[in-house]
């Protein structure tokens, strides 16, 4: 069975909530919309205190080409345009809306009827992309790269395939898994829309084999779409990394940055994005709700929710039985790449794939010992780098050496630190080195 070639690890999967059907989360009392929910320029608020808004109404417009608009997920009154402390720890602009009822914008198709491209033959690639852009769709896997930007590759590059990332390689998370089981038809239509948007006639849906039910279901349903192929992959982290996924599915390796995946012919989109694209294009529904996994070993009822953006994470945790006594850490996202949260008041955003609650014991790192040069980090690195060397050079502030050793290729997947028997903070140091070196390169290029 296929997988990517270099490195990788296999953390305990812990998919505790895999069998839990998606539940619709209750509406929040106050919904909070941070303006920087995506990579690129933050959105600009276009509502003011006291304004009445409906579900699906645009409340902030894109701050540039690489940006995305934000839509209200609730109906009610704008409470204030203020700031919120995000997962990054910084206060960022945000719109607060007091929820009153649940009144949707007209024009949003709330029915379950499946609409396929056959029903809408008049749709052109440009229509699809502009609908996606206006609906504020971003990459739902966590990186939140605006979807329309990826669908407009730089001139000269020729997309050959759309590859749907449905591997969900992060331990614990099951949101994509449940989405595939419950919305397979919509996902497939979403894939055809993405393929049409970039004018390719081959699409892959890559799923790790720890989700056999999803593989079986999608393979069966994909029979109606001969141009879409479901590709089962061996379970290995970080298979959901763009570069690793392309390598696993079509066997091509994207060169070092600044080369884009499209340079080898691949457009990658998350399976959640494909679903959001379907809703945006066929149902006129902006991106204002998503599937999110709330999980953890100490949590009473690990669950998958369909939650409106802006819902405080604390509310979802309460719906799973409340924050356990022995909670040590709350992570937004999965355990390998997720961000530890300062508090649980953080709202659900476009990139919130999961909330993971770890107990006190799991939250602490082991004692750091000397590097024993076991080379496990070198073996685990999916980019073919030498984390032991990079971290040591970062510690010594040897920036030139770090650049020569290709530190900018690091995808920060954390395999090195995961595997280190000496518990060394390899990725902490590599991150520091990488951001410094990227700054040096940027200022050098500016001259």
């Amino acid at each position: 069975m296929k997988t990517f070639k270099i490195g990788g690890v296999h953390p305990a999967e812990n998919k505790l909530s895999a069998a839990q059907p998606i539940k619709v989360a209750e509406l929040p009392k106050i919904a909070v919309f941070p303006m920087g929910q995506h990579i690129g320029a933050p959105a600009k608020p276009i509502v003011q205190k006291g304004d009445k808004v409906k579900v699906g109404q645009k409340i902030a417009e894109a701050g540039g080409f690489v940006s995305a608009p934000i839509h209200s997920s609730v109906s009610g009154t704008v409470l204030k345009v203020d700031t919120i402390v995000e997962a990054s720890g910084y206060a960022k602009p945000a719109v607060y809306i007091t929820v009153e009822g649940d009144e949707w914008e007209e024009g949003i198709d709330r029915s379950d009827t499946l609409v396929t491209l056959n029903d809408r033959p008049e749709l052109t690639d440009k229509d699809i992309i502009s609908k996606i852009q206006n609906a504020g769709v971003v990459g739902m896997g966590g990186a939140c790269f605006p979807c329309h930007v990826k669908l407009m590759p730089p001139s000269g590059s020729k997309p050959e395939w759309v590859i749907i990332n449905a591997v969900e390689c992060e331990p614990y998370l099951t949101a994509d898994h449940r989405l595939m089981l419950e919305h397979a038809d919509e996902i497939l239509v979403g894939v055809t829309l993405l393929m049409k948007a970039v004018n390719v006639n081959k699409g892959f849906i890559a799923i790790e084999k720890n989700k056999p039910d999803a593989i079986a279901l999608l393979t069966e349903k994909a029979k109606a779409y001969p141009e879409i192929e479901v590709v089962p992959l061996n379970v290995k982290y970080p298979q959901g990394g763009e570069k690793q996924l392309i390598d696993a599915v079509v066997g091509r390796q994207v060169p070092a940055p600044p080369a884009l995946p499209v340079s080898v012919g691949a457009i990658i989109q998350n399976v959640g994005t494909a679903f959001a694209v379907y809703q945006a294009v066929m149902k006129n529904k902006p991106l204002f709700e998503r599937i999110i996994t709330v999980t953890g070993k100490s949590l009473a009822n690990p669950s998958n929710f369909l939650a409106r953006m802006g819902t405080p994470m604390a509310q979802l945790i309460d719906a799973c039985g409340g924050l356990p006594e022995d909670t040590g850490k709350v992570i937004g996202g999965g355990p390998m790449m997720g961000k530890a949260l300062l508090n649980t008041d953080v709202p659900v955003c476009k990139g919130s794939s999961g909330i993971l609650i770890m107990n006190e014991k799991e939250s602490l790192r082991g004692e750091v010992q000397n590097c024993i040069r076991c080379a496990k980090c070198v073996g685990a690195c999916p980019m073919g780098l030498e984390p032991y060397l990079l971290s040591a050079c970062a510690e010594q502030q040897m920036w030139d050496k770090l650049e020569k050793e290709d530190i900018t290729s690091c995808i920060e997947c954390g395999c090195c630190q995961f595997t280190c028997p000496s518990n060394r903070p390899l990725l902490d140091l590599v991150r520091m080195g990488k951001s410094t070196v990227m700054g040096i390169i940027k200022s050098r290029n500016a001259k």
């Binding site: 790449m337 300062l342 082991g366 024993i372 080379a375 280190c420």
Partner: protein, 328 residues
Amino acid sequence: MKQLTISLSPHVHANDSVKKNMYGVCIALIPALLCSFVFFGIGAIAVTAVSVASCVFFEWAINKYLLKNDKPTVTDGSAILTGILLAFNLPSNLPLWIVIIGALFAIGVVKMTFGGLGCNLFNPALAGRAFLLISFPVQMTTWPEPLQGFMTLDGTTGATPLSIMKAAIKGNDASLLNNLPDGIHMLTGQTGGCLGEVCALAILIGLVYLLVKKIITWHIPVAILATVFVFSGLMHLANPIYADPVAELLSGGLLLGAVFMATDYVTSPMTKKGQLIYGVAIGFLTVVIRTWGAYPEGMSFAILIMNAFTPLINNYCKPKRFGEVVKK
């Protein structure tokens, strides 16, 4: 609300540790250790016990009194491992005070002087053995015959397979090789030699354990064994005064070195490519020393020489980067 822990990802760990790896190697050494007790009796137990105890003691004492280290590292198992490996490289009738000197050199000079765990340039146990071999050549090259009864301390000593091979080369007389024990005896360890190197089978069991537990990868042992097999095989074909490759593989410290010494994390290269180069070079040097050197055994010197080249190998053997464009 109570304070949440904030840290950067990854938030999970493989639960691997230095301890697990070190004790894992110790477990892999158990079959060979038991064999040495069976073959060499109480002498083997005494040498091993003294070696382990003095290695642990010296590491503890140096940490506490010289380095004033708050966190003594003796519990990580590396000193115990060095102790066992040092004992494995000594004859069972070696006076115990020499064992203690070897342990002092291994831990005190080779390991702790460079900064302790992970910082040493040379394999401590092998450096200890080399030091003793040069300082006490007679005691270090007098090996008792195996299976002389458990309590025998002053048993008869005899020729080892390697000394027979050396004699054949020196005397230019292939018939001397007929005195070699047969393959089965060499595999099970019924020949003279150092404590840990006599039973090839026990070492191979250890190798399987290390590979299954993913403590080591196959690259270094296979590179060494294949090189020795091919190189000594060619020599044997060219001139029968050189022993056949199977005898070369099964004799002396070759297997012990290839499985437990050359694979030492700290002193071996970091990349697969580097490990293969390192293994091939060790195999080559071993046969060269065995054939043309002054000592009958070349394994320990070959590994120590390549230990010195490890930083250089690390510098030049880079892993293949993802997406690397092959330069034409």
